[in-house]
Symmetry: D2
Amino acid sequence: MCKISSEGPTIKVGVLGATGTVGQRFITLLANHPWFIIHALGASSRSAGKPYSKAANWKQSTPIPSIVRDTIVQECQPEHFKDCLIVFSGLDADGAFRSADLPVFSNAKNYRRDPHVPLVVPLVNTAHLVMIAQQQARHDPPLKKGFILTNANCATTGLVVPLRALEKAFGPVESCIVTTMQAISGAGYPGVPSLDIIDNVVPFISGEEEKLEWETLKILGNVVDGDNGLEAFDMRARQPLRVSASCNRVPVIDGHMMTVTVRFARRPPPSPQQVREALAAYTPDAPACPSAPVHAIFVHEEADRPQPRLDRYYQDGAGVSVGRVRQCPVLDVKFVVLANNVSIGAATSSIINAEVAVLKGIIH
Amino acid sequence: MCKISSEGPTIKVGVLGATGTVGQRFITLLANHPWFIIHALGASSRSAGKPYSKAANWKQSTPIPSIVRDTIVQECQPEHFKDCLIVFSGLDADGAFRSADLPVFSNAKNYRRDPHVPLVVPLVNTAHLVMIAQQQARHDPPLKKGFILTNANCATTGLVVPLRALEKAFGPVESCIVTTMQAISGAGYPGVPSLDIIDNVVPFISGEEEKLEWETLKILGNVVDGDNGLEAFDMRARQPLRVSASCNRVPVIDGHMMTVTVRFARRPPPSPQQVREALAAYTPDAPACPSAPVHAIFVHEEADRPQPRLDRYYQDGAGVSVGRVRQCPVLDVKFVVLANNVSIGAATSSIINAEVAVLKGIIH
Amino acid sequence: MCKISSEGPTIKVGVLGATGTVGQRFITLLANHPWFIIHALGASSRSAGKPYSKAANWKQSTPIPSIVRDTIVQECQPEHFKDCLIVFSGLDADGAFRSADLPVFSNAKNYRRDPHVPLVVPLVNTAHLVMIAQQQARHDPPLKKGFILTNANCATTGLVVPLRALEKAFGPVESCIVTTMQAISGAGYPGVPSLDIIDNVVPFISGEEEKLEWETLKILGNVVDGDNGLEAFDMRARQPLRVSASCNRVPVIDGHMMTVTVRFARRPPPSPQQVREALAAYTPDAPACPSAPVHAIFVHEEADRPQPRLDRYYQDGAGVSVGRVRQCPVLDVKFVVLANNVSIGAATSSIINAEVAVLKGIIH
Amino acid sequence: MCKISSEGPTIKVGVLGATGTVGQRFITLLANHPWFIIHALGASSRSAGKPYSKAANWKQSTPIPSIVRDTIVQECQPEHFKDCLIVFSGLDADGAFRSADLPVFSNAKNYRRDPHVPLVVPLVNTAHLVMIAQQQARHDPPLKKGFILTNANCATTGLVVPLRALEKAFGPVESCIVTTMQAISGAGYPGVPSLDIIDNVVPFISGEEEKLEWETLKILGNVVDGDNGLEAFDMRARQPLRVSASCNRVPVIDGHMMTVTVRFARRPPPSPQQVREALAAYTPDAPACPSAPVHAIFVHEEADRPQPRLDRYYQDGAGVSVGRVRQCPVLDVKFVVLANNVSIGAATSSIINAEVAVLKGIIH
């Protein structure tokens, strides 16, 4: 955690879908945020009008922050959020808030594939925020302050951080095969029935492999000049990257594990030791902001790490853990990744993205 | 289960390491075997002299078979097994039994790399039993009846069955990347501490990746003419196959899951549908024997199968389940495999191997 | 399993709620039943018209029995079941089938408190079937063949078997304090969210403690002469029994565990050894029937048994396991009970009840 | 946390058994302690001479505190601890340190039954510290500073806090029946094999029921005038209390749950509502000290709380949670208790005990 505003929190923020699992994470993180102060909480009409402590079926291991305990929950309509400078969203449908000229940091998947909406993993591609101006200009009517910025799928987030570090050090990765072992919290609440997952592995998560294979290209791609002199995401057209994902659900509460093997374009490829050093040395091209981890990637030396239960809370789950970096007999180098799906894989990403937007002067 | 001896069990067998986890599995399976009758049980000197029900810390979900309840456990010395036609072993050190001219079907890893000891997965390479004659001839002094035949590592077993089916249908597989999610029972008892695995994944199993990468080559290779006109395992020297394994322990009791992706030598490669059909149609080149599954490979059509808890007991765990056969964006085709590590991955394999040896006239 | 009809199954039965968890259990058990043959399967209108294999989200560890795979599922209306001699029900609302003069063996809770509906645990109180005649006579219009017979709550079932054994041997039990540790399968599917139960205990199951405290009185009570010379359940009015239950959900798939402590009316109370012997010797007052266990109660001698994972499948889950019988410093004697909630605690009970009804000539 | 020394830590402490599970907890808690500074770490001769980070197989979810990372581990001999004012012990045999005139706060069970060693739960009976003077005087030779003070078994700790609160408000409890559902961490590392506890409950923990039934009497009893005018523990001889315990291991990582039912001496007994209020209002008779919880007992109003996963970290695990207070049909009032076995049930208790000893002037 780098820089703490000395005056205390001053930026009013709202949370959409505040009673859901993602909303509860946003609230937990925002309750002690140095810049952001919770101003409005939105949920379904069933919850609206109730104090938050009655509306939410609180499932976090820390108590409901006292600061929101008695806050009256509103319906998710833009008028209730008009005094907010930032809206954090765990809702699928948050377009109306952008239309009301509100900046929306969305954890939902709906706008991720929109060609003008940045899909940003804060440890990777905050450069994509440059696209916001164009998104505002193309909106009808054009927007002054409003936009949508999405963060990535929780598993994708864990994958792209080390891939970005590798590409920064060694140039393009050409192919990547990843097998995930994903935590149940990734499915929300009630989510995965216990009868489906205790003493079991489910080798399928609907839509997840497609997200990993597609989102990775958008995140690791550049913003380039497109048609009509307008900017566009290149989706790795110039540096093709093929990703093959196999996604599994395992009986773990928090923390997505992945085995990853990659092939570099560069021949000869870097050695495992060079990879290890590049991962440990990686620093994102982003301004220093309060919720970002000190180490984007922690590289474990022990043979049996990272492990979800032991390593998911490191740096409050804001970094990514890598271990077992070694030669791959088929591609070049293989390793293991752990990312905390409920922190850097979800709400923490949205919040860092918002901090970056503040520092870049995009929020005002 | 194909052929049942009508006269009832007549072949006396012994079990080494009878009180351990593997030994308990052997006993459970042998208790109702149509051909084999348990004649001697061997364990450590601590257990020797006690009735089996007192010596074993029985951990199976079926009760101790009444047929062994009062059998007095012997020390693991060849003289106590001299009336046995077959010795099943869950012991690491079983060479002395071979020296005593006893046929040993070993679940241990010690002799798997011996250049004259077959490493046999019964659904794959019973043809390797041809090497037994040479093993006997080279022994000093030469053996008449004794030999060691090993079965494979539990994870390797699950991998080589579909690989063999694919090679039989489409020719050589060139490379294979596999990530395992292995059950705790694979580590024996007491094995994995609960503090290490509940709500967790451990991305490392000592020696396991090496076994998968090496044993696969021996099992899928041919027996060829070697030096001095003697036969030898070719270890895939003529049809190179590169295997890259990442092994993980997950909180599952029984049943090893794997995600597998392969590249064929043949261009263009077979389609996923062709692969599906070839897997379902696969029949091992082995004589029909009582403990072999009717279907070597069961191909699931549902998107979310196989799963350990639901599918591990199919055909008493003697077959292998495959699912999610689909295109791999990096190699050719990817799929999911489930093999019951305590059945086909362990004792069941040894027993089928012994049945095959009986049918081939190697036991007498 | 005592007596097997030599002619094979001849009694046509139907299953209501056939696609649900309880329905799947009924089908699994009925598929190989010596007397009963599945004739009709009923489910919601969403499933009706489909073959069973398409309609059911099959969650059992054995495959769908081939005998029902292509059976077309019907809506749950009596006309589709008119050729059935017995209807097994996992549905809450099964009264219409009784009105259609069908014998209904119900696993649901709706009629358990009806003063003319027997609540029967087959190892305990099949004598209560005598009430069926009165239930038929009081129906408007009176019924010839139809009735409802309910089996008990899954946790209650585990408790009343040893209590009945104790009362048979030592006279009335005066008070009983029971703490349950119940399996997730008791909540059906999807049932308990995994986020609520992995690495957790939930000290509350809605309505469960009331069921244990109330149902026990009906089951262990007698049928007595009531008003107008009609028979009635005495609800232990003459031999008061106070039950105090604390119910917990634990991360176990199948098998309800209970710690039980009792105080007898008789002074001095029996010793733990006498209790042990009485439990082991207990034989229900019921005709021998195919699905009943050979031993109603298995008494474990080991200090750490019974355990759900090791003991729940004993006798196909049709019996009850007791262990750790010892002095209670506050009441008289305490012990541990395990009952398989999906077998004797559910479908197995209904089926044995139906077998008893057949043997008593109540089904025709 | 009440009072924080403004000068920072100044009291040198040592940890015996520093590499074990309890030792790791001590170190985690002491690393940021306002008064205590880690001066010496003791472990087996196998670990001695190594830096702590190499000697310990660290299993906590927070990293090894940097303050001990390079501390060289010593053998557990008093001479290495002679500069410590306090020795925290996770070792069974710590008597030699007392003989060396060192104050030992022991988490081990060896001295708990010693008639001159206080057995102290800091939220309950710090008054028993008065016995230390006598312990010192009776030692041969008499001690000036050294003594042993033990904390209680982890399950006992959870039980006696609410019992003490009830006795303070309503007078003697006459009998208490408790069933525990205990976490695996209570057994240390490697502790419970995963094959024994995943999808399972083990209804036995060696020696645990005896500890609960015996320790409760010592903790809740008074110090009275004994023979020769010397003080003695009355073991509740004057206010008899019968405790009946049934102890179970469940697949929970941290946090012991208990169902408890009690009968008061007083007639009529308090109502559940009075009990609820008395528990919430309970304040220990102990000086305010830094590691003590603000609320000794948190009383939950929700029907399904406390739960280990959600409530074990409340107040850093230093308090006790109670819920579901309700009438017991057999005794008087029943409720559910959760205590974090690795915090208040272990190291946290020892540390609060030491803080109290400092405040009472017993450490100097």
